[in-house]
């Protein structure tokens, strides 16, 4: 068992205070939701009827899932492609992925009308014609898969040797299963909108939208790994084994991958416009907004990544990663909220309500705290003393 050094420190750090405030108010809002229904967190009026998916779905689920793609991307790179030099970031990536998915499901539980029925598509009745059916199954299965992938760390922490052995043995199978699931549900999140050609703005709507979501999720996953490794290096120094040089090397390698992923993403987005022949929309204000997203948040970071890789500047790569993450969030919100139902009168379109936004933030904060808790205890960024030599 590892000792947690944070126990000796005071709990009253500024971060903890802010986190506590967010969680406390969040708990109050969650109480409102579970005492007076979804109307309790602002789902009222024509806006909620025409825009049934609010922040909990559009942000926590739609953005949370692609930003948790790091686990499957790094798993593929290391275990399938055999890029052993990234082995050290696999575990943290899987942890981030697992927590990300878990809290996306938590948000979902807050949002659906009868949360206790969430397993229904798995056990009661199968709506096989629905893309959401895929998402439900895949998220559930993938969450389990990620637990298997991450379980060696938990078993090391708990010192359950036999269980660890089993978990390690099934690792490759789990990774392959995870890749299949991820390919499908990352794209399925986009494909959810295939059926709404009258609602999603034509610039964002495309028959390729599933592919767009998948490719951008790869970029998002890589960028989250870049950011997570850097932040962990900074804030959990005593827990991180990696040297600064090694981290920079990994960052540059990941930056290269991210720049390629973004270049592909940019190219298929442009081809998507050509495919739908929606060029003329670009000249409108909403077209400029689209161009801002496409040029400012995917082409620009792509170029920054490339420059950072070429000039060996990990800091630049980290900034580009941040920009990409923002870009993915912007894209998902554009599809599901900002340009959704643009032709409806304002009172029927999405309206931000502080309670829902707060709840959404609180879920994110809970995810961050869970991450901190795990990193402080489990062998995530370092090897467990007992298993130094094996991997």
């Amino acid at each position: 068992m590892t000792e947690s050094p944070t126990q000796s420190k005071s709990l009253l750090t500024p971060f903890n205070l802010v986190a506590g405030l967010i969680l406390a108010v969040g708990a109050y809002v969650a109480f409102l939701r579970f005492s007076s229904g979804l109307a309790g967190i602002g789902a009222v009026g024509d806006s909620a009827q025409s825009q049934p998916w609010g922040m909990l779905i559009s942000f926590n689920l739609m953005c949370g899932v692609p930003l948790s793609a790091g686990g499957f991307v790094m798993g593929t790179a290391v275990y399938i492609f055999g890029m052993k030099q990234y082995r050290l970031v696999v575990r943290p990536a899987v942890l981030v992925g697992m927590i990300g998915y878990f809290f996306a499901v938590v948000a979902l539980l807050m949002d659906v009308g009868r949360p206790w029925r969430l397993p229904y598509p798995m056990v009661v009745q199968y709506g096989v014609t629905s893309v959401l059916f895929l998402v439900a199954w895949h998220v559930a299965l993938y969450l389990s898969t990620q637990f298997v992938e991450f379980s060696p760390a938990v078993f090391e922490w708990l010192n359950w040797k036999r269980w660890r052995k089993v978990a390690v043995a099934v690792a490759v199978g789990a990774v392959i299963f995870g890749v299949i699931l991820s390919t499908l549900h990352q794209s399925a999140l986009g494909a959810l909108f295939l059926i709404t050609p009258t609602k999603v703005h034509p610039l964002w709507y495309s028959p390729f939208i599933g592919l767009f979501f998948f490719v951008s999720a790869i970029a998002a996953g890589i960028c989250m790994v870049i950011l997570e490794s850097a932040l962990a290096h900074r804030y959990f120094r005593e827990k991180v084994e990696m040297t600064t040089e090694h981290l920079d090397q990994i960052t540059i390698g990941l930056g290269k991958a991210a720049s390629i992923a973004l270049a592909v993403y940019f190219a298929i987005k442009v081809i998507g416009i050509a495919h739908g022949n929606t060029w003329h929309y670009l000249a409108s204000p909403i077209g400029h907004w689209f161009l801002l997203e496409l040029l400012g948040f995917s082409l620009l970071p792509c170029v920054l990544f490339a420059a950072g890789v070429r000039e060996r500047r990990p800091r630049l790569i980290r900034w580009a990663a941040g920009l990409t993450v923002l870009g993915i969030i912007l894209n998902r919100l554009n599809v599901s909220i900002i340009t959704f139902n643009l032709n409806l009168p304002a009172e029927q379109r999405f309206q931000f309500h502080w309670k829902e936004v707060w709840l959404s933030l609180a879920v994110v904060m809970a995810a961050v705290l869970t991450y901190r808790w795990a990193v402080n205890r489990m062998p995530v960024h370092h090897k467990h003393p007992l298993y130094k030599t094996v991997h």
Partner: protein, 42 residues
């Protein structure tokens, strides 16, 4: 320029543009790759 009236015309046009773009991106990619790995070789 008249608006397109048939699927055939629409596809003729959009396919033309997408193929052209795809070729351009392929060429562009080569240079982008060379730009990326340029320093690795030295």
């Amino acid at each position: 320029m008249e608006t397109t009236k048939t699927l055939f015309d629409f596809m003729t046009y959009t396919k033309g543009v997408t193929y052209l773009l795809a070729v351009l991106f392929m060429v562009g990619f080569t240079f982008f790759w060379l730009f990326l790995v340029d320093r690795d070789k030295k």
